[in-house]
Symmetry: C2
């Protein structure tokens, strides 16, 4: 495909694998890039040295474009930025922060910058900051999300109306049909998280991958809204948080229940009871763990079939 | 268009105008039906005699198919059912209740029955109850909604996988692009609420129509989750409810703040401060009040343009 997203990154298909904590290291990123999409290393769960190691291994594993997802609230953000520049990374997706803070420094070093947002206000700020493209992430997405709770179906056309830079849709996309739907709404590419979290190359714990496969419709909920909203699988830890929220618990109590390293405990160490299990609603449509190359192949095939079917509708 | 939805109702285009409280009387329903869609009279805000009057006026205003939306929790439901049968109504969309309760009685009288659901569990129950089609309504939809909070982008393919009967998508659909997106996901028709609430023929108060037009992305929220979840515009009444919810107010206190006839006060009587203003997230994309025929025309035109553009993508 030849559009502003494939041209911006120099990739074959406008499918971006979301840079996720505890799931997307060099193995997953390079597998997606080698399949013609854009693989992202998720820096949010990596110490600086670990990030460097993953970048170096990714460069050895693929000669195709790849990128880094960099949450801007990361405490050691300066070190991450330095490593990204030193290692010659060409593409960075920033998230969870203000696009004005780091965009110009990254671009001075020739890096393509994409910022992840969940509302129109921040989309406008992205354009002002000079980012090259936007990921607009709907309410259904896994992990941390916006307070507006705007869904992909509503968010994509609203962002499309508000800005001129290329738009990548995220949230609820695990199939070629959803990719086609997002393109009908005005996106030029899609970012896919949950589907790749349950891939062979994902660095998530096998228990977590299996739990994603078992998750049905209604099995996740946006939670912890008084802290930073995050979509979780409804396990025992989620229930504990929900009970506290329903009786009006304040931020400090919720933060105490959350504690530290809950996501690592669940997603990386495999504790399905006490761990924080971040995944999107679309987990309900994911029924098996597949290699990244097979996920790419399926999405492209589904896209082509659905496109041909839609073209035949006469109205 | 010729598919299972247009054939089921005998209509030209698979666009259904949602039967909404305080917005969709005979004027709106007949205008939509006369434009080739399916207009629905919203019985939820009508006393039995008022419903009869609207049905009779609708029959005079159009010779095309039209229907009734009937919330099953309505206290005088028996009287509504009797009137529907007596007046020879051919199409009923039931909602807010169990599809097993009334479907067979309606079908014995030759009535086509569609049920509105928001999760896979009830979709399966619909099929068991023998309804003719399903409306699957996503989290972004206006008014009352499900506890699962599954968005249209996720819900449509999940329901499509779960049942064989025809599927109508609802929630977030105000344009032909969104209609096309829903068809890519597996729907054979769309139900459109918010866009028609802000139509010339809508019986909503002008203040409410204007407020819909002014609502931006992030301007609504699913509220009152401890009672029955309902999506509201963030006005002063909403703020009052939200403050109570955040400090852990229980059901009875929330019910007391809500009181009676709040929706009528806002949507029909035009009190934008104290009224309950039910609308979908997609209000953020609605920028003017239009005649129903123009809304239909725009949606069809947008659908055709987007369809042609999608068909040209080569992947």
């Amino acid at each position: 495909m030849n559009n502003r997203i494939t041209n911006l990154f120099g990739i074959q298909y406008p499918i971006i694998q979301a840079g996720m904590i505890w799931c997307s290291g060099w193995r997953l990123a390079s597998a997606v890039s080698n399949s013609g999409g854009l693989g992202l290393i998720g820096a949010g769960s990596m110490y600086p040295d670990v990030l460097r190691e993953h970048i170096q291994k990714c460069k050895k594993a693929t000669d195709k474009p790849y990128g880094i997802n960099l949450p801007l609230l990361y405490p050691d953000i300066d070190k991450h930025i330095d490593i990204i520049i030193e290692e010659g990374v060409k593409i960075v997706f920033t998230s969870a922060g203000n696009p004005m803070t780091w965009t110009s420094k990254l671009k001075e070093h020739g890096i393509t910058v994409v910022h992840v947002i969940a509302n129109v206000k921040f989309a406008l700020k992205c354009e002002e900051a000079g980012v090259d493209a936007i990921v607009a992430e709907g309410f259904e997405a896994g992990g941390h999300n916006g307070k507006e709770e705007t869904t992909t179906m509503c968010l994509i056309p609203m962002i499309k109306d508000a800005v001129k830079i290329p738009l990548i849709a995220a949230g609820g996309i695990a199939t070629g049909k959803a990719m086609l739907a997002c393109m009908a709404l005005g996106a030029e590419g899609v970012q896919v998280g949950s589907r790749f979290a349950a891939s062979v190359e994902s660095s998530a714990h096998e228990h977590f991958k299996q739990r994603i496969v078992e998750t049905k419709e209604g099995g996740t909920q946006l939670s912890l809204k008084k802290l930073v909203p995050v979509r979780l699988i409804k396990n025992e830890f989620y229930q504990k948080i929900t009970e506290a929220e329903e009786r009006g618990a304040l931020r400090h109590e919720l933060a105490e229940i959350l504690g530290r390293a809950r996501a690592k405990k669940g997603m990386f160490e495999g504790d399905m009871v006490e761990g924080e299990l971040e995944i999107g609603q679309i987990a309900g449509l994911i029924n098996e763990v597949l290699p990244a190359s097979k996920i790419m192949e399926n999405m492209l095939q589904e896209f082509r079939v659905a496109q041909a079917e839609l073209a035949q509708l006469s109205i």
